[in-house]
Symmetry: C4
């Protein structure tokens, strides 16, 4: 019988001794901010895939590529070997859990991977939806231990919360809370975003901060370009809206 | 793998011999009445935390404090040692279960704690929503054994029910029903409340009655103050509404 | 830990040797028809309670009686000893399962009881909602074996179905289907009913047929009285409606 | 206790040695296209039933036939022995799973059957809803291995996807994705269909392609007849609509 959650490592992943690894989570979420950052880093650093996770808690469907090849929804683990420096693990994927309980069980499985590979710190990435367009998105932070806050603040992360009683939903939140119970440090970095659109500008803000914290330089040019394109699209939409309003007013006037 | 429900006691909780303990449940619910009462008692009596409960049935998120420190949603157990008198245990927390089945499983876990610590009686606290503002909220009662009713009535609890076929939903109800099957007495105290707002006035009524029943005096001043403040807020809202209606009438007139 | 479904027999139920027992299911459903019939038979025959079933699939609440005594939702099994004749078992209760899967698991538990007590035939009772008031409600039938149909038809049960592709949802249906897999005969009797109101008239029709089939006379007077009262209530409602329509027409005219 | 999913083979199915069998899945779905094709092939080839599958993930009800005989919802497996040629297995049934997790668990059970019977390739059949009436429905394809695509394309299946990021939901998709993990080839054939109506015309397109691929001729006459009838019904509906629109216009004019 199928396992509720199954983790498989690539056959090529034989040397599992990692150097001071951190895990960076960028699963789908608000504004796809975390996903954009993690996938961009994988792309720019040339991280390689070392494993994948399937689960009955993911949507019951397959995903087709442009050639018509189908595959199950999955989460993936990528590894960037830092050449003597710290190694980076990335957790990315198609979906998060479709059920409440599944969210917990999958986060626990991610932590099994983290523990097995010797991870001592996790960065979870996400968007912080503010409901309006944001020009210079700040990066808001959360952590599972007080000592982490000063370290993270120094990198330009904001810890004052507009909604103090607020929470972080899904993997980005649960990994933070559950890693604490296993003695793993957890930091969440959330880029401000409208929440309406895929937001590369917010992702660029998060990337800048994360890159600084982990001291791994990542050229942001392509992400900035994408942000600039998105900016043009958004400006176009706003311009259109203004013109329609003017037209309506001229009818009335 | 993660347990569906996990109970951990604090390391400091070594002396588990309690004196005739009762368990007081005040999880979130209608008007937050039970939560207000239990948390107020913990605060005023200086009860100390002895354990916490995590579960995959709680919402899949973390809760942030004002410093940006994240923690999993949880329920907590507090202990007040009555100095030779009866000890009090409190069950409070962030949320109740998100699923029907989880409600049963979590109530069962609470009863495991109660049984382990020698609890022979449980008081569950809640609000009884009446759909309109209540000036002098009564405290309605329910119990899992006929013999308990007279004892509780004597403390000023009303047992006539407006809706005789009605029920009590969630932990406050299930603990009552399930404790009976384990031979533990269960009493539910429900303060009348509109159901629309957090209701410290209703909580004050419940506190007065509970304090009398368990013969543990608790200074109600701060709760009464909060009720008075809330009363002012509500009066302000009502005043506003009246003024708007008058304005509308004067337009018509 | 709590069982997902638990069956307990009364301590007094020691002689478990039953004479050719049949099980009659009357859980809540459309028009409460099955529930009315089964509870009426229990009442009139003086059947005694021999067991009860609790489950995490029932709603997470307690039910209060008029004295404020709380109990868990449950299903109950009653026994009528037929004095040398066939014994009757009744399955009644507060609710059916709140989840799809729970419906299957609970029906399986009912069949465990049936098998343990030697039941060879099950009658499930219900309402067949037609969406309009019915004056002389027919009793529609379904069975899990062709041979049963002629026997049941002879008692005045209709087997032509208005909606041939239709189904029977919940315990009344599942018990029929699942008993077949265990070699137990299953017959479902459904009284036509509007589906809007508790329907003692439909229940009286079902009682008459069932009583005939199992050859156990049950005085229908009290149920007929209740049906007559309900009839008056319904006529009053219809009269009211007609008068309002007349009034509206006279305004227009 | 009941199994969550149970598979039973017919007693008559003793010779389980099959010749190069393929499994053809046609469970209910968009436009009932897959169901129509698979059931038509079973009918025309005279395939015989060799097993059935029950599950708590199917709707909690029974299905009545025109005589009032009730049976549980189920999926069925049929076998057509190809007389020395390839044998065909068919998976058809009443419903798919009611829950997300159940979809995965049931697909896994289907693959247990496939593996046990030596299946090396699975064809899943379905409709591809386009939201408007389709005159000459194309057959779109998906596969779980690149090598399969050329083979299938040669039979007239289209692999360019209008929505490249799209997916295939339910058994038709999951079987494709999950069979890959077991080393079984998987091909999905989807007939274009409006998605609003049962669509025998789309089914006829899929049948033509599938019949060619597996080199098993199936006389399409009866399915084409049904498609022609359906075509008449649809034309009648469209005609009606046009007439109503004309009427409305003539009122205005």
């Amino acid at each position: 019988m199928i396992d509720d959650i199954s983790i498989r490592y690539e056959d090529s992943f034989t040397d599992r001794k990692l150097t001071d690894p951190v895990l960076i989570e960028g699963l789908p979420g608000i504004g796809q901010v975390g996903k954009l950052v993690a996938e961009y880093m994988i792309h720019m650093l040339g991280a390689i895939k070392i494993g994948e996770i399937h689960a009955i808690y993911l949507p019951p469907q397959v995903i087709l590529d442009e050639h018509g090849i189908a595959r199950l929804p999955r989460n993936e683990i990528y590894l960037y070997r830092g050449a003597g420096q710290r190694d980076l693990l990335f957790l990315v994927g198609d979906f998060q859990s479709t059920s409440n309980e599944g969210h917990y069980l999958m986060a626990d499985a991610y932590l099994d991977v983290a523990a097995e590979l010797g991870v001592k710190r996790i960065y979870t990435l996400g968007g912080f939806g503010v409901g309006h367009l944001v020009n210079a998105p700040r990066v808001l932070g959360a952590a599972n231990r007080t000592e982490l806050i000063h370290e993270i603040e120094a990198a330009g992360v904001t810890f004052e919360r507009d909604e103090p009683g607020g929470g972080i939903i899904g993997a980005a939140g649960l990994l933070l809370g559950m890693s604490g119970l296993r003695g793993i440090d957890g930091v969440c970095l959330m880029g401000e975003t409208s929440g309406y659109l895929v937001d590369p500008m917010s992702a660029a803000s998060v990337l800048a901060v994360l890159s600084k914290i982990i001291a791994v330089p990542v050229d942001p040019t392509q992400l900035n370009d994408r942000a600039a394109e998105m900016e043009k699209v958004v400006q176009g939409l706003l311009e259109n809206e203004r013109m329609q309003q003017d037209e309506e007013l001229s009818y009335i006037g």
